[in-house]
């Protein structure tokens, strides 16, 4: 469903991705790991269409369609979801109205009728329960005054509510304590489906204990330097990223 070929990108003229190749089939979970500054988050943002980045070469094909010309909202409407590493605050906008606009925008793009306020409320309440999120979450302003962990839960709530075809989860595990991590991992596992592709970007192996990936890719300096199955994570945990980077240079 997602085919990335020799993807190169830059920000303010500085090359940040230097030829990425990645194939994701429906039903697969891919973990992307790597040291800080390797380009993990950059790749996530580029897939979602962040305007600050320029694609300078290669291609991204999603469900048979070239992704690069699409705007961020068009991509989202086509089923691409990004769970943000740093979710953005929107003062004065209630979480529940934001979620409703979002769900209805995507339903509209899919040719479905919008959900009315009552239907939406019962729909979203059920999702909150599933993720052990207190209902008061819905009536707070979007991410405003949320703790790091609360912001991440809110991202997963949106993931669960929007039911995207392709989900990119950027550092969803950071800032979570162990209890929250297991709840969120439960949410992700519940979203695992034969039709859905998931990319998990993470610095640590920790999350992978809860959500088992099919493949692991290691990114360094804007390139994938190693791909493997889930056992790769354990090797990394033991030897650190420097092991791979040194190998690369040798």
């Amino acid at each position: 469903m997602l085919s990335i070929k020799n993807l190169q990108a830059s920000i303010n003229g500085k090359a940040v991705l230097k030829g990425i190749d990645l194939e994701i089939k429906p039903g697969e979970i891919h973990a992307i790991m790597g040291p800080n500054g390797s380009g993990k988050s950059t790749l996530s943002k580029i897939l979602a269409g962040h305007p600050a980045y320029e694609v300078t070469g290669g291609s991204i094909t999603y469900c048979g369609q070239e992704l690069t010309p699409l705007s961020p909202s068009e991509r989202a409407q086509a089923g691409v979801f990004l769970s943000f590493q740093y979710p953005v605050e929107i003062p004065g906008v209630a979480n529940v109205s934001f979620l409703k606009s979002s769900v209805n925008s995507i339903r509209k793009a899919q040719g479905k009728a919008p959900m009315d306020a009552m239907d939406f409320l019962s729909f979203i309440r059920e999702k909150c329960q599933q993720l052990e999120i207190d209902e008061s979450f819905l009536y707070r302003n979007v991410n405003e005054g949320f703790s790091g962990g609360e912001k991440k839960r809110n991202e997963i709530l949106q993931f669960v509510a929007l039911e995207p075809k392709l989900a990119i989860l950027d550092e969803t595990d950071s800032g979570l304590d162990i209890d929250a991590l297991s709840v969120i991992a439960g949410g992700i596992n519940a979203m695992r489906s034969p039709e859905r592709g998931i990319i998990m970007v993470t610095h640590y192996q920790r999350l992978l204990n809860y959500v088992e990936p099919d493949y692991i890719h290691v990114l360094a300096d804007g390139k994938i330097i190693k791909s493997g199955d889930k056992s790769l994570a354990l090797v990394l945990e033991e030897k650190g990223y420097s092991w791979l980077e040194n190998m690369e240079q040798a």
Partner: protein, 482 residues
């Protein structure tokens, strides 16, 4: 109007003359302003002597006044001899025959606001019977109001039906000497609204100019007077979200509010006059004087405004807090886009003991526009225990626009409290990207972020008005981002 149509239209004109107490055939005056013009206006309205005398005093004073130049707005010098000070209501022949003849851009906006077809026709000035719909609605309302003793009518009607109230209160809050445009308005005003709420009455509905018969022909020099007697309450809505057709460039209205003991007046405005085109050509100059007097103890006046239209908006709805424990509030959203200019804010004059005032101002500038908050908080020596809280937030979109804040604070009373907060922010690329990543279109995203920014003000508006105003914010900022 072409010659052969004259007799027909003269006949039909009769239908559009509600509120005019004259048999003199309605006509449009030639441009120019002198004593004679004022006498003619007064004569056409068959006004009592005291009103003509007042108009003439105002005119004499106006002639001695220089055009004010202290604000931060810029516009070419206005030639006051080049304006017609009385225009007859448009004849049916001059109006568009159907919506097909109306500017498609205007129709697109109506559509976005979800305005029903019949109302669209009325707003666009299409020559249909729509007016009569509103007449019947208005009649029902009038009966309900009369039951409570509430007076709600055109200013001209009030002059004839309730001259003692007009005599007592006209100019008592905004004297004709107050400022250049108030003086001009006092001399030449043609119509407006009058409201009186008797003692102990809570007005049973929101009063809106929209439902007032003849609201369409109030013209460019409008005059509004609202008096709330002891222990009464009224909520008044001015304007509407739909852009209205108007050929007059200069609008210089005066609004006076009087709240007596324990009375509350809530005055909400949505102003969406034509802002001019993308290059700043055309558009209304909206130079308004709005002031309320909290005369009685524990009285309260609250101004809420959403200003999105006009090429230039220049207004400072103010409250004179005379009664002890009286309360003044000002909640404002001012949006400027393209080449619009806004210089708006409030004045809170604390005279009585333990008087309180709140100013919440949200300015949003986009395009090449200029948006300024200008406010005065004055605590006089008698105002023991007075308090003010002011918050001014500006949001900028793009790099060609500007936002300014000019807060003036004068305190002559040591036992008073004044707080002032101000912020300036930019609508961030990250906020937009976040919304868009959730499938929300850029325009809707801007609208959502902006209405969040304005929430404190929008929540002061009556519910339906607030929903429309939120839509309007989005429409006014179309094309401002991305």
């Amino acid at each position: 109007m072409s010659k052969e149509h004259e007799p027909l239209s003269a006949l039909l004109d009769g239908d559009y003359q509600h509120g005019f107490f004259t048999d003199i055939e309605s006509e449009t005056f030639d441009p120019g302003l002198d004593e004679e013009v004022i006498r003619r206006i007064s004569a056409m309205k068959n006004e009592p002597e005291f009103l003509l005398a007042w108009r003439l005093k105002a005119f004499e004073h106006w002639k001695t006044m220089p055009t004010p130049e202290w604000s931060s707005v810029h516009y070419p010098k206005i030639d006051y001899q080049d304006i017609s000070y009385y225009s007859a209501p448009k004849s049916i022949e001059d109006r568009p025959k159907s919506l097909d003849e109306v500017d498609p851009e205007l129709l697109r906006t109506y559509e976005k606001l979800g305005i029903p077809l019949r109302e669209q026709e009325m707003l666009a000035g299409v020559a249909v019977d729509a007016v009569f719909d509103s007449v019947s609605v208005a009649t029902t309302f009038k009966a309900k109001l009369a039951e409570k003793g509430v007076i709600f009518c055109s200013f001209s009607e009030a002059v004839h039906e309730h001259p003692e109230l007009i005599k007592q209160y006209l100019g008592s809050v905004v004297p004709y000497r107050d400022n250049f445009y108030a003086a001009l308005n006092s001399a030449v005003f043609t119509d407006g609204s009058f409201v009186y709420i008797p003692k102990g009455v809570r007005c049973p509905m929101e009063l809106s100019t929209y439902f007032r018969i003849n609201a369409a022909s109030t013209g460019q020099f409008e005059r509004t007077l609202i008096v709330a007697d002891d222990d009464s309450y009224v909520s008044y809505l001015e304007g509407c979200t739909a852009p209205q057709r108007d050929e007059n460039q200069l609008h210089a209205a005066v609004v006076e509010l009087v709240a007596l003991e324990n009375a509350t007046i809530k005055y909400s405005t949505v102003q969406n006059w034509y802002p001019g085109d993308k290059d700043g050509k055309g558009g209304i100059y909206n130079f308004v004087t709005k002031r309320g007097a909290c005369r009685g103890k524990r009285s309260k006046i609250s101004w809420t405004q959403v200003e999105t239209g006009s090429a230039i908006t220049w207004k400072y709805p103010s409250v004179i807090l005379k009664g002890d424990d009286s309360v003044g509030e000002f909640y404002s959203v001012a949006v400027t886009n393209n080449h619009q200019q806004a210089d708006t804010g409030s004045k809170m004059i604390h005279l009585g003991k333990n008087t309180r005032s709140t100013i919440i101002s949200k300015g949003i500038s986009a395009g090449h526009s200029h948006n300024a908050y200008r406010g005065l908080v004055r605590i006089t020596p008698m105002a023991v225990g007075a308090r003010n809280y002011t918050q001014c937030d500006s949001m900028l979109m793009g790099s060609e626009c500007s936002a300014h804040t000019f807060p003036y604070i004068e305190s002559k009373q040591a036992q008073s409290q004044i707080e002032h907060e101000a912020t300036t922010s930019k609508i961030s690329e990250d906020q937009l990207f976040y919304c868009e990543q959730r499938g929300i279109d850029p325009e809707e995203a801007v609208s959502m972020i902006v209405s969040g920014f304005c929430k404190q003000v929008l929540k002061e508006l009556p519910m339906e008005f607030a929903v429309e105003a939120t839509k309007l914010l989005g429409i006014s900022l179309e094309g401002a981002v991305g």
